[in-house]
């Protein structure tokens, strides 16, 4: 094993414009080697553009970035030897078979014909695509195509791998397969930069997350930090009798916190409820003779974090900024 650099990606003030569009507007990233780092953002946030700059596909207009210690502009060629890209559009050749794709990459990376074939077969077996190896990729299912795409990225195991929305459009099972592969890669020492719109994905995989919106990092931290920044969860209740909602609301407001009356006449929710306070509240309600049809305690999801941070929705809980670095003024 070669010596690991402490930072796999070290980017400062990265920026890129396309005409009038400022696709990336000064992004700082510090990705520790050997981790999965999630870049989370909605459509058009600048995720793909950031990856393309880091993978040396396009030069940044502003700022600079070092990948595994090498500058992405002046040492682009060295960077290319260390990274692999699994792009948002499947980066495999649809008009070739799965095996041909892998053999081609093997050849391009310097394997002999025989070695390239062996390597292709090994990957096809490991990634559960052996039975479709001789079929044209355009006839593959989405999950298979993604697995092939990732296999193509590790024909030679990269030190750093870019995964751009690897599970978009996949069913839950295929998604889980991709996640397993990502975890295996990290276990073997590869660093992964994962772009995703799925908060659950970042939560499942990432050690650190940067939330980006409109080309800027608006928050970063661990998944836990980010969840904590939205505060505690909320208690959702449905009453057996709509007539008692006012009583329930008054009681909850007093014992727990701000109450939201849902559109449905029997439903209400209260934020700021941890498990202990929720249990007390439920007990108080039954003591006060308010019969419940249903209740549930919901943890804050990363969705809520995201909405709270970007302000595109869910404006009622602004994030308390103490647990995470705020980049927005």
């Amino acid at each position: 094993m070669t010596a690991q650099h402490p930072l796999a990606i070290d980017a400062t003030g990265l920026g890129k414009s396309f005409g009038q569009t400022r696709a990336v507007a000064g992004v700082d990233l510090a990705v520790p080697a050997g981790t999965i780092y999630g870049v989370l953002g909605p459509n058009g946030a600048g995720k793909t553009t950031t990856i393309r700059m880091l993978a040396t596909l396009i030069p940044p207009d502003e700022g600079s970035a070092r990948v595994l210690g090498h500058d992405v502009v002046s040492e682009a060629d060295t960077v290319r030897e260390l990274v692999s890209l699994t792009g948002q559009l499947a980066s495999v050749d649809e008009e070739l078979t799965g095996r041909e794709n892998l053999v081609l990459l093997g050849r391009l990376l310097g394997y002999s014909r025989a070695a390239a074939r062996d390597r292709a077969d090994e990957l096809l077996d490991a990634f559960d695509i052996a039975e479709a190896a001789g079929r044209l990729v355009k006839h593959y299912s989405g999950g298979m195509r993604r697995r092939l795409d990732i296999a193509a990225s590790i024909v030679v195991t990269p030190r750093l791998m870019f995964l751009d929305e690897p599970t978009t459009g996949l069913d839950p099972r295929s998604r889980n397969q991709v996640w397993e592969i990502a975890r295996a890669l990290v276990a073997e020492g590869t660093t992964i930069l994962l772009c995703t719109q799925y908060l659950e994905e970042a939560d499942q995989l990432a050690d650190g997350i940067a939330v980006i919106d409109r080309g800027r990092v608006i928050a970063e931290g661990t998944p836990r930090d980010l969840k904590a920044s939205v505060g505690t969860g909320s208690l959702h209740l449905r009453l057996a009798d709509a007539g008692r909602r006012a009583t329930a609301a008054e009681l909850l407001e007093r014992t727990v916190g701000p109450v939201v009356l849902e559109p449905e006449p029997t439903a209400l929710s209260v934020t700021g409820a941890d498990a202990g306070r929720a249990a007390v509240a439920v007990a108080e309600l039954s003591r006060a003779g308010v019969p419940l049809a249903h209740f549930s305690l919901q943890q804050p999801s990363l969705d809520e974090v995201f909405l709270a941070l970007t302000g595109h929705a869910a404006e009622e809980t602004p994030p308390p900024a103490d647990t995470l670095q705020e980049h927005r003024s």
């Binding site: 081609l104 990459l105 050849r107 391009l108 390597r119 077996d125 193509a152 397993e180």
Partner: protein, 278 residues
């Protein structure tokens, strides 16, 4: 959501980990090996979709039949005399038309994510372009060969024999190497494969018809004749004709090769630059 049951058919984690860990990096291949690998990719595409050769073979044969039987008598007195005159020119035309498809194919490629992968590999940068051109040259040879074979079936008996025909084909293919960089640039600049096709044919149709491919320019009005004479396609057709006739016209051959080299010298670096920045 919380289930940990392994779905059937899911990737075998142990095998995945083995596959990940078992890769010493091979030594980086040279430019030629890389370009050849891309050429192989082009061949595979033809193998999977042989129909794509119809475009490049049927059109020239159609032209050959049409011109020989429809106009041959009127232009050259007899169909067989016209065949001798026009086949070497049609060979030029059919191969040049095929070069347009190189630009179309490049443009189609660019809309696919696989280009990003190629561009992120540590390889000689023009390799994908040079490689697909190598693959395309097989297409050019097929287009030319089909035309010559059909011509022979119709009674074409060049004095230069097989050697002359092969030499003419080689010259035309060499010329199209140079020309195809022009269409590669178009392929990189235009927004859709169709636009490339239209622009390509819009350029190459008039250039072909305003050449000596179909008619002897001696019959043309002065200014037009002047243009036809300097049109590189005329020069190439003359060269191809001379080779097939077994009396090589050295000047025409040299000019053809020089034009091809000049086109490549200008458009190859341009192509590489555009490909890099797309």
């Amino acid at each position: 959501m919380t289930t940990t049951t392994r779905a059937p058919g899911s990737a075998d984690t142990a095998a995945v980990r083995r596959a990940i860990s078992s890769t010493p990096r091979p030594t980086r291949p040279g430019p030629l090996a890389t370009a050849l690998a891309f050429g192989w990719r082009g061949m595979l595409k033809v193998k999977h979709v042989p129909e794509q050769l119809l475009d490049v073979t049927v059109t020239p044969v159609m032209f050959l039949l049409m011109f020989t039987y429809l106009f041959g008598g009127a232009i050259a007195g007899s169909t067989s005399a016209y065949l001798d005159y026009t086949l070497p020119g049609l060979l030029v035309m059919s191969v040049l038309f095929t070069t347009v498809y190189s630009g179309v194919a490049l443009n189609t490629d660019l809309t696919k994510g696989v280009v990003d992968r190629f561009r992120s590999l540590p390889i000689w940068r023009p390799a994908p372009l040079v490689g697909s051109l190598l693959g395309d040259s097989v297409r050019y040879v097929i287009a030319g060969t089909v035309l010559i074979v059909v011509g022979v079936a119709l009674g074409f008996r060049p004095d230069g024999g097989v050697t002359g025909a092969v030499a003419a084909l080689a010259l035309v293919v060499a010329f199209s190497f140079g020309l195809s960089w022009v269409f590669s640039v178009l392929g990189l600049l235009m927004r859709s494969p169709n636009a490339v096709m239209n622009a390509g044919f819009m350029a190459i149709f008039p250039l072909t018809f305003l050449s000596n491919v179909f008619v002897d320019p001696a019959t043309l009005p002065g200014p037009l004749q002047a243009f036809v004479d300097v049109n590189p396609i005329s020069v190439l057709a003359t060269a191809s004709r001379s080779l097939m006739a077994g009396a090589p016209d050295g000047a025409a051959i040299l000019v053809s090769l020089a034009v091809a080299a000049a086109l490549a010298a200008v458009f190859l670096p341009l192509t590489t630059r555009l490909y890099r920045s797309r």
